[in-house]
Symmetry: C2
Subunit: 142 residues, 2 copies
DNA sequence: TATGAAACCTGTAGTAACTACAGGATCAAG
DNA sequence: CTTGATCCTGTAGTTACTACAGGTTTCATA
């Protein structure tokens, strides 16, 4: 009458939290070690026991990571949330700074893509030795 | 009548190689340690002494890194060059694989950019607590 | 030739964000 | 009570460098 890991609010094991969130076990322990996740209660034998709030928080962290926020950015975000008195402006500042980062990365990669395409275009991929790509990769060959 | 570091083909110091290539000293030593750069000759006192071929090779490595090739990809490329019997096709294969990687990264970042923009749009950045960005970052808040 | 600062040497440890063990304890089912 | 799955801690590995500490060499100047 219940999922194996959640028997009447007794809390769930790290394994089942891992399965539900898609975050692997070592990573959950890692987040605890670096202080993103709070220390959970333990069973008599010392096994970690998680509740709903842990799952929510871990979900938040994972979502942020998917969106490319760094651990330190997430720490700031969580600090605001934990403090409880954050404003929209504070949160938006973090998000906007991050958006700028992402846009810069896109621009860099696009430049890179063009160069790689150009470099590759010079080469027909044949059996001939002395590939023009190699030459192109030597800066100002003289 | 000569640059301080290059006295009559005697080879240049790691410091001047660093300056000419823009690659910092620790990194040059690191490339040597991992086998990308060959061990250079040494002075009587044990200081590294580089020639033109080292500068060319280091230039190649740096250029590849700028283009986002990983150290292992560069190792493959250099292996082909060092072997001397590479074909255009082999080189192009490495470059094309890398170009695919870059394009995948661009696509991912663009998706991310859209999401961050959407998330940010919900927020007016005001003084109000309870920012909608935070809510958006909790996955399926129920 | 002596001196002293700048550059160099080796080896180790730190960075980001995890992942992967080793070696042992606990849990849940039968 | 046994057994196999899961969990525990602690340490080391990953990528591509960077940053020391503590000591030696070089080289321009006095």
């Amino acid at each position: 009458m219940s999922t194996p890991a959640t028997i009447r609010g007794a809390g769930s094991s790290i394994g089942s939290l891992s399965q539900r969130t898609g975050c692997n076990i070592e990573t959950i322990r890692y987040y605890e070690r670096i202080g993103l996740m709070p220390e959970p209660r333990r069973t008599a034998g010392g096994h970690r026991s998680y509740g709903k709030s842990h799952e929510r928080r871990l979900g938040f962290i994972r979502r942020c990571r998917e969106l490319g926020f760094s651990i330190e950015e997430i720490r700031v975000l969580l600090g605001l949330v934990d403090g409880g008195d954050y404003t929209c402006g504070e949160v938006k500042a973090v998000a906007d700074r991050h958006l700028d980062d992402v846009r810069r990365k896109i621009a860099d990669l696009k430049k890179l893509e063009r160069t790689l395409k150009d470099v590759g275009a010079a080469c027909d991929g044949g059996q001939v030795p002395e590939c023009p790509i190699i030459d192109a990769l030597y800066p100002n060959t003289g």
